[in-house]
């Protein structure tokens, strides 16, 4: 999974090292949200604090759900009622400060903390998806 964070990331860069969390460690990162992933046969999470090309903070969480059906299940389970589909990006939704998509066995959650970082999320998403083929 670390390879997903190498090379071009739409101008974004990993600020510190990528954290890896297996099933045993998922509570370390998302606490009480862990069981709904574990129930869906979650395998591993790669999480990174990132900076956009403009230096704005973002968080990138890539969940390896083992099978595409599991990724689809968690994507549907966490889909916000008011989040919007993304044009030209199947299986993706965006809400303010958030961009979420699934690709193959991966489920990806990108989070921004301000408007400038939010604008950089689609570029990061496209770059990550390109590495998941």
């Amino acid at each position: 999974m670390l390879a997903l964070f190498e090379g071009d990331l739409g101008g974004a860069k990993v600020k510190e090292k990528v954290g890896l969390y297996d099933e045993k460690g998922l509570f370390d990162y998302i606490d009480g949200a862990a069981p709904i992933f574990i129930q869906r046969h979650y395998r591993k999470l790669a999480a990174a604090e990132m900076a956009s090309a403009g230096g704005d903070d973002m968080v990138c969480d890539v969940y390896d759900m083992a099978e595409p059906a599991n990724a689809e299940s968690i994507f549907n389970a966490e889909k916000s009622a008011t989040a919007k589909p993304v044009a030209d990006f199947p299986d993706a939704i965006s809400g303010p400060m958030s961009f979420v998509f699934r690709s193959g066995r991966y489920y990806v959650k990108l989070t921004a903390f301000d408007k400038k970082a939010e604008a950089a999320l689609p570029g990061l998403a496209k770059a990550l998806k390109g590495k998941m083929k």
């Binding site: 045993k24 460690g25 998302i30 303010p96």
Partner: protein, 317 residues
Amino acid sequence: MDRRGALRVGMTAAMAVGSVALGLGLRERSGSKKTRDLPTLKDHRVDKPAGATDMAIVRGPDPAANVRRAVEALGGMGRFVKRGERVVIKPNIGWNRTPEQAANTNPDVVAEVVRLVVAAGASKVWLTDASVNTPEQCFARSGIEKAAKAAGATVIRPDASAFREVNVSGKLLHTGDVLFPFVEADRVINVPIVKQHGLSLASMALKNWYGVLGGQRVKLHQNIHLSIIDLAAMVKPTLTILDATRILTANGPTGGSLADVKQMDTIAAGSDEVALDAFGATLLGLNPNDVGFIVEGMKAGLGTPHWQNLKTVELGS
């Protein structure tokens, strides 16, 4: 790795090898041996003056004003904090999230609580939480550390030296490592946010006590509702100020998308955490009877979910 993380590894590792019962047994055996020498937290509650209001619900656009009006409706901070007392304030600072993302308590709410406690004459005002994500990020991104310091609080980050082992004396939890201000304080003020939670349905006042603890994660997650009640029964807070300025309606406790956040502009305050959580549950569209820790809290005698039967004041803007 932060302290909470280190302890969770132990918990999940125990789960992975199917040794949950073994983990509990070891803790219980060592706990029963040690408990004679360990401190027990004080009862931080104060007597209710005759005729005093039990619960205040205030709605309005200014979070700080809502806090002031709610506390005033209860009789003022002087009802809860006397001059010279040491006070610890416990917001939710668990997450690397901004105030707009509503995973942590609103910093304007926290700062106003600090100001009221300082004005009441407290000799020491600590503010602390055992963050889930990296504490440095949580305390900064939430805006709480800056706001609380400016208002006069001493902010304690949850590094390893900040914990003391105490008796919990609960049904599941016998001993635990808690942040030291809870051992030393005369009064405790709980300032949780209202949010949805994947495992316990909701995180509000009672669930906020997970953030005092640095250990025993196996027990906490094996029976989350009873663990919550064990911790609430241990702390016995003086006052709770429930922050529903913004609430997280889905994908809690982490959140992230503003699509999951609802602006409620509401503060509720009182001494009955079960009643406050029952009220908070309704804001999330939940029936309080469906929330395990509310039911267990009532059974344990921590309060009543029937907040409408209490002497309650509701104020609008």
